[in-house]
Amino acid sequence: MADGTKIVVDHASKLFLEGTVVAFRNVELNVRSNEVLCIVGPSGCGKTTLLRCIGGLLAPSSGQVLIDGHIVHSPRPGVAIVFQHFGLLPWKTVVDNVGFGLKVAGVPRQQLAERVEHYIRLVGLAGFENQYPYQLSGGMQQRVGLARALATHPEILLMDEPFASVDAQTREVLQEELLRLHERERKTMVFITHSIDEALVLGDRVAVMATRPGRVKEVLTVNFARPRDPAAVRAEPRYTEMRNHIWEELRPSVVV
């Protein structure tokens, strides 16, 4: 496994509304090539904002983000984002939504159609090709967003709670699918989740964020063997240990 650093977040801060809202402060984070870095943290700690900065959609207020050694000013090629709010285009059917990234990248029609079909099947939406987003359930819409990102064959996948709206069983199937994809294609992934379990099952490392101000509190190395079997991971004593540890880390931020 190549161990070069793929993404560098270098002392980055992001403030909103003339500095009155602090999304996150002084974040230092490296993501290695082919690594899956999971981010967990309470609501409002700046996870989405951090991801948007990495994706080049937002400039940090101070500090910088680098991908492959280049300072990120705008969305870089080879990076795909799965949005927390899905971000599907209401006027496009499932096929056209999934093919959106390929279409604007100028991928030839034949190749586009094949890839789109493949990823629609992968996320379990075969049969819904010609539906509009309003005709799909929330979980189905989320999977369209996932397929759209995967279809562009990105080197880097930035995922913002991509399984938040699907049911528990589908979620496990999609987790396994993502693990397989990672085995096969060795992508670099940043994966935001609220689920500690999901972070441990998927991640090579887990960044724990805290709120007020948003910051990275700790980065844990997970180190379970790959290829991974989620059931086996959950059976490991270290899994329970880390799970409890992260839970304790997050506890101070949980507002009751």
């Binding site: 709010h85 971000g87 006027w91 604007v104 990248a105 379990g124 509009y132 999977r143 199937v173």
Partner: protein
Amino acid sequence: MSKVGNRSVIGPSLMLDSELAAEQRVARERARAVQRRWTTAQIAIRIMSLVVVLGAWEYVGRQINPVLFTYPTAVADAAVKMIASGELWKYLSQSLIVLFAGLSLAAVFGIALGLVMARFWAIDIALDTYITALYSIPSVALVPVLVLWFGFETTAKTAVVFLFTFFPIVINTYQGVKNVDQHLIEVGRAFRCNERNLWMHIVLPAAVPFIVAGLRLAIGRGLIGMVLADLYTAITGIGYLIARYASIYRTDAMFVPVVTLGVLGITLTGLLRFVERRVAPWMHQPEQE
């Protein structure tokens, strides 16, 4: 439910077993029955309301001096004669040409200007006061100026319709672009859309409902402009019909072009809805049963 590995959990269930097929048939039939009942109810209410309103009109109208008012059967009678003689169509067509010319020009230039203003902030700032001002001034007030510039014939009439319809189209188009969901713009940027792609795939489709609303407004105002142009410039077209029959106290015949205008409004709006359904099927969201 059949289970083929763990994949069937996320796949759509294959709808093969006969029980399900039967349920689907029932659901489909129920949905159609609901739709049918709804349509029937609508038609029934329309007919009833028509009968009541026309009946009342007929009854009241017959009590009143025919110079001052008229009643449906008299209007229908006059209409048959005016249609048969070709009179109605002769004058209506003159007005329709003006209406379509004015509306088309307003649509083309209005949408174009709305888009340009939304895209280029300098043009927006340079022009928006005039647009707002001109939209606020009752368009009637400017008709004499148009007569001064364009004379009394078709050009002037078209200009009047244009004046009545241009501004709502500009303003709605502009609003449509400005109201595009910023999340979707961000999605476009994330997938590295160039400007052309951003407009083709995101901004324009998002603006379609606003543009259509602008056109709908424009149709209503265009009809006003059309009649006004007929009355305020050279008296021709449908305005001429109204004015002439009014001047000879043929109230029944005068109502024929008036009713025609109403029918025209309904037809054009219906046509627009039809086109809208074609170009923007995602906006038409029937309740799913």
